[in-house]
Symmetry: C2
Subunit: 332 residues, 2 copies
DNA sequence: GTCGGGGCTGTAAACGATTACAAGAACGAT
DNA sequence: ATCGTTCTTGTAATCGTTTACAGCCCCGAC
């Protein structure tokens, strides 16, 4: 009554287990052998046990994508891209979420050694030495979608935040907006840090000083809204005509707070987000957003992972994908 | 150089593999034994291989959640709820996406027999006899988050769409809107079918006839926008003061098309979505939406799954969770 | 007719854990 | 001193596959 094993199939077909295995894996066998085995398989409804199989062959044909927060629409873009590449290569993709804490990320990477998957793409929110160390020591290949120091010696695919910030700031300038505020996520995160620096540099390069800067508690919509409150009530009458947000969710949160105060986007205040996620085109007005290439990063990360699985001796690569600006109606 | 096995640890500690296993699993052992084993484990950086372990014990301690489209925000709500329950019970959650085709769903369910996970929560978009059959024959417990005929004899947790539609229609009526159109997703899907019937009944119960009905090609934002075009240009001047959409993404797509034609929500046309996903509060104006209890359905589904894993002989349960209405500003 | 070679096929040994069973040690009761 | 418990530890079987190796059969060449 319970699940048939390969031994059961062998018995039913009157052949050896080795032959069953061979037929199932497409190794040479006589026509008759193939027929008998296939019939027995069909009859018993046999399905090979992947645990036993991967124990023996040492591969699971599963790849893992780990992201911090499934609610952030930037990850769905990335997820789709990764999924496409890995499934074309014959792997299943499993997605897990780590949450915002680096200890959970470390635990996840360490856990990969248990043999859950053949490789991991991780997009870490926070990075510390422990995480780097665990990645380097990990027995399965890991590629990082995000920025880690090149000294770490791991495969990475990252965005060019500074360039992205430059696109944002210069777009605003071109539209005549010079009183720019910045809403960032936590600056102790990888994207938060990169964007803080990128924004500061972009402003300086254009001889501007930010009207205000506020740091949201995380990269969520609710945090954006709160940051909007803080920003707008902290102005004390200082003029403001544009806001750059560190991601789309924050931008959207801010837009709500602007609306609540009767300010209209983009006439009174222009808003630019980052990530160019699906959300950017869904909100109203549609959000101008810096496309940091999430889809391409996902694709490249997946390709890198597959290549490393193929050949683990390759020297680590560091790919950076360039941003573009998706102009929509939240800027003039 | 390669990964240490339990045998290596045993050798290093000068004890037997059985003792190592026992210590690691918290079975009784002397203080000294525990100490030696732990030291060897630490020293070698040993991590048990989960494949071997689950081959032997017959459990993977992984649970799978399968959804049609990770881009649909209703699933992130559900995902969060499921995650919470299963991780509290000591399981890892892996999320996979099936796509819109029933054959892929069937393949997924059949594939569960390979031992990837100890159980499955599936939220199928389309259901046919094959799918039901594969669920019943599946060697691991499956619970369906969605509507399947009670004759199927499987655990299900479903929403009460008809009741939800009633809430929507009666809310509009209470606000004085009587010229109501309906935008549905594909009517050959489970939610599409349920909502079509629910809407028709709700209208009839209130003595109303729909101004128009259109069927989008799927449940995405883009499809909503297209459906909006079709709806609005097909009116031929018929008066319209409210639209009910079968989910939030469709509703948002429609709102964009309304805006493009200079119609303002809710003054000219009220819009109601369904699912009450995070998107509903993120768009502008915030979307009134029927909360079909995705979070609770996720939670209940996960609990049902755990219960069935515990005791497979329980008779199948069918839970239905009741809707509520989240009133926001897209209705007057 | 014998021998060599090339395919198929079967037997059995892995893979890395858990666990039933047996054996040994320690200890108290008689 | 002997016996019986109880507690700890080790040996070996087992989970369900894959695959190295050896055996077999058949065929063609000498």
């Amino acid at each position: 009554m319970s699940r048939p094993t390969i031994a059961g199939v062998a018995r039913a077909a009157g052949v050896s287990v080795a032959s069953v295995s061979r037929v199932l894996n497409g190794l040479p066998a006589t026509e008759e052998m193939g027929e008998r085995v296939r019939r027995a398989v069909e009859e018993l409804g046999y399905v090979p046990d992947s645990r036993a199989r991967s124990l023996k062959v040492g591969r699971t044909f599963q790849l893992t994508l780990a992201v911090a927060d499934v609610g952030n629409p930037v990850y769905v873009t990335m997820m789709r891209a990764v999924e496409e590449v890995v499934s074309a290569a014959g792997y299943r993709l499993v997605v897990t979420t780590t949450g915002p804490d680096v200890v959970d990320e470390v635990a996840l990477v360490r856990g990969m050694a248990r043999g859950y998957a053949d490789g991991l793409v991780i997009s870490p929110l926070r990075v510390d030495d422990d995480l780097i160390k665990s990645i380097r020591e990990c027995d399965v290949p890991v590629v990082v979608a995000g920025n880690v120091p090149s000294s770490a010696g791991v495969d990475t695919v990252r965005a060019n935040s500074p360039k992205g910030m430059l696109l944002a700031v210069e777009h605003l300038l071109a539209k005549g907006r010079r009183r720019i505020a910045f809403v960032n996520g936590p600056v102790d995160t990888v994207p938060g840090g990169a964007r803080a620096k990128g924004f500061a540099d972009a402003m300086k390069a254009n001889g501007l000083r930010p009207v205000a800067e506020v740091e949201a508690v995380d990269f969520t919509f609710a945090a954006g809204r709160e940051a909007g409150v803080e920003l707008l009530s902290g102005l004390n009458g200082a003029p403001l005509d544009a806001i750059v947000a560190a991601n789309d969710l924050l931008a959207v949160g801010i837009m709500h707070e602007l609306a609540a105060r009767g300010l209209v986007v983009p006439d009174d205040v222009a808003v630019i987000g980052m990530d160019d996620s699906e959300l950017a085109e869904q909100v109203f007005p549609p959000l101008t957003s810096v496309n940091l290439g999430s889809a391409e990063r996902g694709r490249r990360a997946a390709e890198l992972l597959l290549a490393r699985i193929e050949d683990d001796s390759r020297t680590p690569r560091r790919i950076v994908v360039q941003p573009t600006l998706s102009v929509r109606r939240s800027t003039p």
